[in-house]
């Protein structure tokens, strides 16, 4: 790693335990992890190994049961609800497997949503939304409703919504899971393009074809990191 790379987020010994019906599920155990600015990291592993849980904690949707999590150098594991909401809104962009666009809002309004929670002036918002939609190639669909778009198009809109607020990092949980291979391919290309433009991305996928594009792949098994593979090694393995 070169000297000028900046550590964006760091996890030290993060553990997550779920308690349901008196059964303890150790979803994550002793996770140590660093992601640098501009990096494209892929998280892989079998179903139920804790990938989504890890991503949720990274995105401050959930908090660790134990351990330390530093975002941009600041510990964030103990923040209250309001502060976490503010950080999610400003520093993090989410892309979900199920797109999770709001059906009652237009494409434009969906993308605008994170900005409205910042109290950004209307004109500024409009410009930012326009830019974001142009980057994902959906600028011609602003007035449509999600139900009028194909799955691939919906996911592009979701990507626009994730990046419109210029977050520190984009978190994507199996963004291709609900798409056919052609549409999936296109979304992955879009992420790569964003990455080339400087975005930091952390993506969960269990599809080998897609994780190969990442700089680094973290393999999870049963809540633990079992392997970390740099892109160079990956390609040489082929």
């Amino acid at each position: 790693m070169s000297a000028e790379t900046q550590t964006l987020l760091r996890m030290n010994g993060v553990t997550k335990v779920f308690l349901t019906d008196e059964v303890e599920t150790h979803a994550l155990s002793g996770i140590h992890l660093e992601i640098n600015a501009g990096e494209y990291v892929s998280i892989a592993g079998p179903s139920g190994c804790g990938k989504s849980t890890l991503l949720s904690i990274l995105g401050l949707l959930d908090s660790p049961s134990d351990g330390e999590y530093l975002l941009n150098g600041n510990p964030v594991q103990d923040l209250d609800l309001g502060e976490r909401a503010r950080i999610r809104n400003r520093e993090i962009g989410f892309i979900f497997q199920a797109f999770n666009l709001i059906g009652d809002l237009t494409v434009f309004e969906n993308v605008e949503l994170p900005l409205t929670y910042r109290g950004m002036p209307g004109a500024e918002r409009k410009k930012a939304v326009q830019e974001a939609l142009e980057r994902v190639g959906m600028a011609h669909r602003v007035k449509h409703y999600p139900s009028q778009l194909s799955g691939g198009q919906q996911q592009r809109v979701a990507v626009a919504r994730a990046l419109v607020g210029k977050p520190l990092i984009l978190l994507a949980d199996e963004p291709t899971g609900n798409l056919d291979s052609q549409n999936g391919e296109q979304v992955i290309e879009l992420l790569q393009e964003l990455h080339r433009g400087g975005a930091t991305i952390c993506m969960v996928t269990h599809d080998q074809r897609y994780s190969k594009h990442a700089d680094r792949t973290i393999n999870l098994f049963d809540g633990r990191i079992v392997d970390e593979v740099e892109a160079a090694q990956q390609s040489s393995a082929h």
Binding site: L81, I102, P114, Y117
Partner: protein, 821 residues
């Protein structure tokens, strides 16, 4: 079908909370309506207990430029009766007060002087004994016989089986009781005091000695007339014949009858009181309207809840559809469920009505008892409730049933209701949620109308109590007494009046005592007459204007507390034989002597050949409704003109109530056969007069609160459902960084939008609807303070109702909400 009902019962039992809310809503709605219907039934719908009531008409005298419907002159009545062929019979009757000795206690009664054919025209047979023979009204004073009501018989005579043939003293004369009417017959008025006895009109020298002219001149309009149409004759034909006869009489007796014509009404309308029937109808309509609102709100609630359940059951329904169930079968089953719920609601509603009726009865004014109004839960009421129950079942059941059966098979089975569907927003509008929103807005609107009605009545009561009645209310006590009913001669009566004043004034705590025939806000005994100022040509309106005349003793004005603005009070010198004097009210002065000073001027009335000289002007006092405009009033000196029935007015320095026993004792000391007077403070007399307004306020307030309570349930239900349905959306927003306040706002804003829409519609509806009750109010039906206060209250209440669901929304865990199923 049976299976549907069994299934419906099972599902009602399986959802106890939902069933409880629905049945309670319906019970309140149906119960409120049934309660009010018992009242409507008693006042408007119960047929008068006479034979073929449809053939009976009430006849009135009319005059041009006057909307009043007057009685008949007795002599005119006889001419109509003998000459108009369209009737098989025509009878006259006249109210008379009497004191009776011979029952358990001396007692004051209200009864009727009637022509001998009264009962045969009505077709009412005596339950015991007989009614009158056809010739018992032919010769004055010749037939001292009396028919009594069932109520009098049971109350005063203990249901004595040998009542027929018993003698009693009525106004000092001996009368034989010859018959008892059936229990349901109480005379020809559906509300107000029923008649307790009937006596042939030929006995007027005994029972109405003060007014012999009533029976010998055509000036005095003194008897009411009822007639039975001959079979096959229409009311229009009879009306024409009456008017022709009126023309003849006008030509024959131009002095008295020149301007007079006649009008007919079905007896069923006339029994409501021809003057007050519109107000009564309006009040009845208002109450039914208010309870109808409550029921509509209840139905909206239930529809809304069932709609939510139908949505939740879409999967079950889709499965049924996918195995080939025809849609009508599903609708039938859903309707069976609502029918079962409405039956439970109807049954519970009957219970509510049972209590509601007792509550309503407890709100009556002090003078009212079951002789006046009988709130029976009779078969017609039951039929009404059953009809209502079925109607509501359809009303709230149909829409959810149709909506529910329209499940989209594929998405329903996949359980993907929240997945973005391909419908446009427009078709979504027609779907369940928006229907529920409309229902909630409707509920808010209806509640607003009910509450504004209640608010206006409440303000009216306040306002009326603030209105100046034109005299001093505090420290004034009134007692009505009928000396003619004691068989007193005018001389004896005048002596009694004077002694009563002396003795009552001697009581400690009494400042002054006096008599008046008519006292503002307490009893109207006097006659109304037309006033003709000397040397003046009156406009037609004034020529046919009847002005109340009031015989009063000296110091009436100072005792009652009506300021004398000009001239002098009556004095003992204004006696019989001296110049006839009068004191007139300010309004009388303004109307009959505009721009002049009437003191010293003279006027006449039709039943007295001599002039009256105006000696004073008194301030206007409200004898009629407190809210009404001042009407003219003429006072005569009771020392000059004897009045057979008067009200004793006593002004005390402190609380008058402790003096009541002393008042009674003093009167008993003067005449032990005088029925014990019932002293009433002016304060309570006014409270009784405001009874209708207060009842309106209380009932509407009860219904308003009911309506709001139901609406709160409705708002809560819709908001809770919305939050559930939008859990995922809320989760997304939270994931994207929406803070608690933003989520709270999101949900509350939706609730407020529904409320605002409802309030807007409700305000417009209130503005229109309250116009109909303007005549019952003492404030403007568009009173802005009421409208504003109620709107704000309702908005606040709906925010509170939406707050719980909204707070639940802020607690949505984005992880749970977003987890894909």
């Amino acid at each position: 079908m049976l299976q549907d009902i069994r299934f419906a019962f099972r599902s009602a039992v399986r959802n106890p909370a939902l069933t409880a809310v629905i049945v309670t809503s319906l019970a309140l709605g149906i119960g409120a309506n049934t309660t009010i219907f018992t009242l409507i039934n008693a006042v408007f719908l119960r047929p008068i207990p006479v034979e073929k009531p449809g053939e009976l008409v009430a006849a009135f005298t009319t005059m041009p430029k006057s909307t009043a419907f007057q009685s008949f002159a007795f002599l005119n009545f006889k001419d109509f009766r003998d000459n108009v062929q369209e009737f098989s019979g025509m009878a006259a009757y006249q109210f008379v007060g009497a004191n009776m000795v011979g029952g358990a206690e001396p007692i004051g009664l209200g009864g009727q002087l009637v022509t001998a054919n009264y009962f045969s025209v009505l077709g009412v047979q005596a339950a015991r004994g007989r009614t009158f023979f056809a010739d018992e009204d032919k010769v004055d004073s010749a037939a001292p016989v009396m028919v009594i009501s069932n109520g009098l018989w049971t109350r005063t005579f203990g249901g004595d089986p040998s009542i027929v043939g018993r003698y009693v003293t009525l106004n000092g004369s001996k009368f034989e009781i010859i018959g008892v009417t059936p229990p349901e017959f109480k005379g020809l008025q559906s509300i107000g005091g029923g008649s307790e006895f009937w006596v042939p009109i030929s006995m007027h020298p005994q029972l109405n000695p003060a007014n012999p002219l009533f029976y010998t001149v055509r000036n005095a309009l003194s008897v009411q007339v009822v007639a039975r149409l001959r079979p096959g004759v229409s009311m229009a034909q009879a009306d024409q014949a009456m008017k022709m006869m009126a023309d003849r009489l006008a030509k024959q007796y131009p002095n008295e009858n020149a301007d007079r014509s006649t009008a007919l009404f079905p007896l069923s309308e006339a029994v409501l009181g021809i003057g007050q029937r519109d107000d009564l109808r309006r009040s009845g309509g208002l109450l039914l309207g208010a309870t109808g609102l409550v029921l509509l709100i209840a139905c909206a609630n239930v529809a809304s809840l069932l709609l939510a359940r139908a949505m939740a059951r879409r999967k079950e329904i889709a499965v049924r559809l996918s195995v080939g169930a025809p849609r009508w079968r599903l609708i039938r089953q859903l309707l069976a469920e609502s029918a079962v719920l409405s039956l439970l609601g109807g049954a519970a509603g009957m219970l509510v009505a049972y209590w509601g009726r007792d509550l309503l009865w407890a709100m009556r004014p002090s003078w009212m008892d079951s002789r006046f109004l009988d709130l029976k839960l009779e078969p017609r009421v039951l039929a009404f409730t059953i009809a209502l129950t079925f109607l509501t079942g359809w009303l709230f059941g149909l829409i959810p049933a149709i909506q529910g059966s329209r499940a989209d098979l594929v998405s329903a089975i996949k359980g993907q209701f929240d997945a973005p569907d391909r419908r446009s927003r427009f078709t979504q509008l027609a779907m369940g949620l928006d229907l529920r929103s409309i229902l909630v807005s409707g509920q808010v609107a209806l509640s607003l109308v009910a509450l504004i009605g209640a608010g206006l009545f409440l303000r009216s009561v306040q306002q009326a109590q603030r209105l100046s009645p034109g005299f001093r209310v505090e420290g004034l006590t009134v007692m009505f007494m009928n000396t003619a009913a004691q068989g007193y001669s005018p001389q004896r009566a005048t002596e009694f009046y004077k002694q009563a004043i002396e003795r009552v004034q001697a009581l400690p705590g009494v400042q002054s005592a006096t008599w008046g025939e008519n006292v503002p806000q307490a009893g109207n005994a006097g006659v109304s007459r037309r006033v003709f100022p000397e040397g003046k040509e009156l406009p037609a309106e004034l020529r046919s204007l009847f002005v109340p005349f009031n015989d009063v003793f000296p110091r009436y004005f100072s005792t009652v507390g009506i300021p004398l603005v000009k001239g002098r009070d009556f004095s003992a010198a204004d006696r019989e034989g001296a110049e006839q004097v009068a004191i007139i009210s300010e309004t009388t002065a303004r109307m009959f002597w505009p721009g002049e000073d009437p003191v010293g001027r003279r006027f006449k009335h039709r039943l007295n050949p001599n002039f009256f000289r105006v000696v004073g002007i008194a301030a206007d006092a409200k004898f009629g409704t407190l809210g009404g405009a001042a009407v003219p009033h003429v006072y005569l000196s009771a020392t000059q003109f004897y009045a057979p029935a008067m009200t004793l007015c006593v002004r005390t320095s402190g609380d008058p109530a402790p003096l009541f026993p002393a008042f009674r004792q003093t009167i008993r000391g003067l005449d032990s056969t005088m029925p014990l007077p019932q002293p009433q403070t002016m304060t309570s007399a006014i409270a009784d007069n405001l009874w209708t307004a207060r009842l309106g306020a209380e009932l509407l307030a009860v219904f308003g609160v009911l309506a709001v309570a139901l609406t709160v349930v409705g708002i809560y239900g819709v908001m809770a459902y919305t939050v559930t349905r939008r859990t995922k959306e809320i989760g997304i927003r939270i994931a994207l960084g929406a803070e608690q306040t933003a989520v709270l706002q999101l949900v509350l804003r939706q609730g407020l939008k529904l409320t605002a829409l409802g309030v807007a519609v409700g305000l417009a509806a209130s503005y229109g609807a309250t116009r109909l009750i303007a005549s019952l109010l003492y404030v403007s039906p568009a009173d802005p303070a009421t409208y504003a206060a109620i709107s704000v209250t309702l908005a606040v209440v709906s925010v509170i109702a939406g707050f719980l669901p909204a707070r639940r929304a802020t607690r949505v865990d984005p992880l749970t909400a977003l987890r894909y199923e």
